[in-house]
């Protein structure tokens, strides 16, 4: 009995890791890509990013923090949001509830 695989092939592309963040002389430019402006269960997400920022400042010099909000938590960030983060050296992205 010959059978057909129902799962479908997945197209993959080789890509390397993004360049590691180096400590620049003027300090690190850091981005946070967050979800909605306010969370409706549990702590406010901006609260998490503030806590993370504080923890990072104890370890590295930070020159700038950019916080960008996705318009919809269920979809990837749109090009305009990514453009706002283009100049930073690293972005932290996540969902907190």
């Amino acid at each position: 009995m010959e059978i057909v695989d129902p799962r479908g092939q997945v197209e993959t592309h080789d890509s390397g890791l993004a360049p590691r963040i180096r400590h620049s002389a003027g300090g690190l430019q850091l981005g946070f890509l967050v979800n909605e402006q306010t969370r409706h269960q549990g702590p406010d997400f901006y609260g998490y990013t503030l806590a993370l920022e504080e923890a990072l400042r104890e370890r590295v010099e930070i020159a700038e923090v950019v916080r960008v909000c996705k318009p919809l938590l269920s979809r990837p960030a749109e090009p305009p949001q990514l453009e706002e983060l283009r100049h930073v050296q690293g972005v932290i992205n996540g969902l907190a509830k």
Binding site: M1, E2, I3, V4, P6, R7, G8, E11, T38, L72
Partner: protein
């Protein structure tokens, strides 16, 4: 992903392989034999290697052959293939946000709504038990085939990556067909297709919540107020973030509304108005509650507890279908995913082989 063996000795070997490789969500499935898959591909009128797109979140490519393999596993008859392919094309439109629908914590799932002459041609159920297949092979297996495509090509497995908190029984199979004979325009006609077209509409929604007209008379406004009450429950994604929603009316209630001067459009407009809720009923003024609801339109004065908030984006965002038993005037409400996606997409069904 482990390659499957091309040849199996018998049906028992297939059953063991299907469970061992996670090719099913727990229910038994038929073997996608080369002969049966080729038969469904031929019935589709398309080439086996035509690709509809990658099914998120895994991204398995849904070629016509892969779709046919899942349809065979579901027990789908060949003549259902054009409907199934149109439904998958609709799901892959970016506006639907299939990736989000597949993995969300919410209990919505794509409902297939089939309308037009193909309903009769396929022998689909439109009356009793319409939301659970109604004993029709086409109705049950179309929903089942879609589930298997989303499972196998999409990799929508519970836990990782699917974060659905409670689940939805319709994930096993969620397909409904609209009655052909009623006084309103059909769903696909109201969405811009020709009356005699056959079409499939996909809409991510919760299970149907029945509305019986207890304690009300024949006044259409009272009946619609009962439906609106079921539409605007607290905790529903619609009530808090708007989006879209589906209401099914039984044929007898549709005739009653129509005879009372209520067209499809008038019912949508009345339900839109009647389902609005006071700001003060929805949002809390507690210190730890959100200061603002970012989803509501600017026209809503959020500082005024008596301001009325719509629970869908517009009257047209209330999708009406006519379905179910003709024995009693009832309605059913299927809340959507709110503003997050799963919005209704309608596609005409292309002719297949015959």
């Amino acid at each position: 992903m482990t390659p499957l063996p091309r040849g199996l000795r018998d049906l028992d070997a297939w059953v063991e392989l299907a469970y061992a490789e996670g090719l099913t969500d727990g229910l038994p499935v038929l073997p996608p034999t080369r002969r049966a898959v080729d038969q469904l591909v031929a019935a589709s009128g398309r080439l086996a290697d035509e690709c509809l797109g990658g099914i998120p979140p895994r991204g398995g490519l849904a070629t016509v052959e892969v779709v046919a393999a899942n349809a065979v596993m579901a027990g789908c008859p060949p003549e259902c293939m054009p409907v199934l392919l149109a439904a998958i094309e609709a799901l892959l439109e970016p506006r639907f946000n299939l990736n989000g629908v597949q993995v969300t914590t919410h209990g919505c799932w794509p409902l297939l709504i089939v309308s037009g002459p193909i309903v009769e041609q396929l022998g689909m159920a439109t009356a009793e038990s319409v939301f659970s297949g109604g004993g029709s092979r086409a109705s049950a297996t179309l929903g089942r085939a879609l589930r298997l495509v989303l499972w196998n090509a999409g990799g929508a497995f519970p836990g990782e990556p699917v974060k659905e908190v409670f689940g939805h029984p319709g994930r096993y199979a969620y397909c409904v067909a609209e009655h052909r004979v009623h006084p309103w325009s059909s769903l696909h006609e109201s969405r811009g297709l020709a009356r005699e077209s056959s079409a499939v509409t996909v809409f991510a929604c919760e299970a149907p919540h029945s509305v019986a007209f207890w304690g009300v008379g024949a006044d259409p406004e009272e009946r619609l107020a009962s439906v609106a009450d079921a539409m605007r429950t607290r905790g529903s994604n619609n009530t808090h973030t708007m989006g879209e929603l589906l209401v099914a009316f039984s044929p007898s209630e549709t005739r009653h509304l129509h005879a009372s001067g209520y067209s499809r459009e008038r019912v949508q407009e009345r339900l839109f108005e009647l389902s609005k809720r006071r700001v003060g009923e929805i949002r809390s003024r507690a210190a730890d509650a959100p200061a603002t609801y970012e989803w509501w339109p600017a026209s809503v004065d959020q500082s005024n507890d008596d301001a009325l908030v719509p629970i869908v984006e517009s009257p047209e965002a209330i999708h009406l279908i006519v379905a179910g038993a003709d024995s009693i005037p009832w309605a059913a409400v299927c809340p959507g995913w709110g503003h997050l996606g799963g919005f209704a997409i309608t596609r005409a069904v292309r002719d297949g082989e015959g």
